[in-house]
């Protein structure tokens, strides 16, 4: 039985949860901007959310929860700095009166979170630290959650975060969005971090699914804050198009390939949104690797069935991707598309060249792809040998189960 009070409490609880999801990064970013102190900013943001849990049930949820939280966190920071002699200089920057929490001018600085993303992703920080710091400060994940996501011990992750924050202070990494001439080069790093966070969640089961949602949310922030850059839109489109197909990727722990996925279960709303974002990016006429990958994902997502896929288009998109962002993995995917568009022999020839180059030695998808093409070509004996080679290299149980079932079908 639910009393009226319980449901009111539930509503407040939901409002605080929503505020945490939507406003955490903004509150922390604003506090870092004001104090220059990352730890103080996080502590005070935490205090503000704790205060919300006490105050909102009594006084009601404020009209602008983000402004309320920011003001509360800032007042908390002033209190803390007052008690600290070394805080006097920082205090002067903070001493802006804000009597009415609902009227404070937080809306005037909409790029605070963008500054935070770019600072977390500064090229002077080690790559792993950039990912961890982004998740911690922008998404509010706890150190334990980040450690779990990256299969690291919590003390090691805590160390990594401490070192990164220390380097920001002591090496003098500026808290700002880089100037226009540096932006394209820095933006690439930011996008890479967001896509890595997405993929961490995408490849795994429920435990890490929150990471894909977080990456999508951060990409949305980036799109809103940099409306004239096409690549953030390309990345968001790519994520949404992958996410739309996620529920059909496995069946009781067995990998299901694109060809055999139940297309009626793909999320059409996400596909529509992804395609629209991609179109907006493409009209800006500055192609980048995320837009091309999104275009490939869109070809798959909008095909009526596996046979009706526009393989010549996908093959030419992979050629474009190989030009923009050369990598042997791209070449492997391109070989598959060429096999589907121009016939198995053409694709097999590309895979064989790749095998001979040794650039993907130890990568299970190379023999697995070769096995699949040989199977389609009716070269059963060679296909079996290739599946067995792939099985030895497959990294997870899901992939081994898939390869075993294919092998048994031959």
């Amino acid at each position: 039985m639910t009393s009226p009070n319980d449901s009111a409490d539930d509503r407040v609880r939901a409002a605080v949860d929503a505020a945490f999801r939507d406003e955490w990064g903004q509150v922390v970013a604003t506090l870092i901007g004001l104090t220059g102190d990352w730890d103080l900013a996080e502590d005070c943001a935490q205090d503000a959310f704790a205060a919300a849990l006490v105050t909102w049930p009594r006084d009601g949820v404020p009209r602008r929860p983000g402004a309320w939280l920011t003001t509360t966190a800032r007042n908390r920071a002033i209190d803390r700095l007052r008690r600290d002699a070394a805080g006097a200089a920082k205090l002067r920057r903070l001493a802006v009166p804000a009597d009415d929490p609902d009227e404070s001018p937080v809306e005037e600085i909409p790029d605070e979170r963008l500054r935070l993303i770019f600072t977390c992703c500064h090229p002077a920080l080690p790559f792993a630290a950039r990912v961890a710091l982004t998740l911690r400060t922008l998404a509010g994940l706890t150190t334990a959650e980040i450690a779990r996501a990256f299969l690291t011990a919590e003390p090691a992750m805590a160390q990594r975060l401490v070192r990164a924050k220390r380097k920001i202070a002591e090496a003098g990494i500026p808290y700002r969005v880089p100037s226009a001439e540096l932006l394209p080069q820095r933006l690439a790093g930011v996008l890479a971090v967001l896509y890595l966070i997405f993929n961490e969640g995408y490849d795994e089961q429920d435990a890490r699914r929150a990471l894909t949602a977080e990456a999508i949310r951060l990409a949305r922030v980036l799109v809103r804050l940099m409306p004239h850059e096409p690549e953030p839109r390309g990345l968001l489109a790519l994520m949404l198009l992958h996410e739309a197909r996620r529920p059909t990727r496995t069946d009781h722990g067995v990998l299901v390939t694109l060809e055999h996925q139940d297309r009626s279960r793909w999320n059409q709303a996400l596909i529509t949104e992804g395609v629209a974002l991609l179109d907006q990016a493409l009209v800006m006429r500055r192609t980048g690797p995320y837009q091309v990958q999104a275009a490939i994902a869109a070809c798959h997502a909008t095909a009526p069935d596996a046979a009706g896929t526009d393989w010549p288009q996908i093959a030419s998109l992979y050629a474009e991707l190989a030009r923009l962002a050369p990598s042997p993995v791209v070449d492997l995917n391109r070989a598959v598309a060429v096999a589907m568009a121009d016939g198995i022999p053409a694709g097999l020839a590309m895979v064989d060249r790749l095998t001979a180059s040794g650039r993907l030695a130890g990568y299970y998808l190379l023999p697995a792809t070769r096995a699949d093409l040989l199977r389609r070509a009716g070269r059963t004996g060679e296909a079996k040998a290739a599946y067995e080679e792939a099985l030895k290299l497959a990294p997870t149980e899901t992939e081994r189960r898939y390869l075993t079932s294919r092998l048994e079908e031959l």
């Binding site: 500064h122 002077a124 002591e170 090496a171 003098g172 990494i173 500026p174 880089p178 540096l182």
Partner: protein, 111 residues
Amino acid sequence: MKYVLLICDDETVSPSNEELEADPVHQAWVADVNRRGGMLVGARLRPVVDATTVRVRDGETLVSDGPFAETKDFVGGLVILECADLDEAIAIASGHPYARWGGVEIRPVWE
């Protein structure tokens, strides 16, 4: 903030001081640093064959020829700068002629 730029190179390419002064990239770099007013100290070092390293182990002073770091790249010069932040130090370092074939390590000064 103060930063030290360690100008690193493997010494296979070692232009003379006259060649360096005639290099338009070097001239542009010096002009850029002067414009920013950031240069506190700058010095080019003699090659590593002229280096001597001193260590004290168990109270005994050990003197050896050669540089401390046994790598391919050695410190060939140093510059001490006063800049706003790391991004400005990166901007200055990226303009140094040795950044094209060697490397420039940026170290904040412990103050």
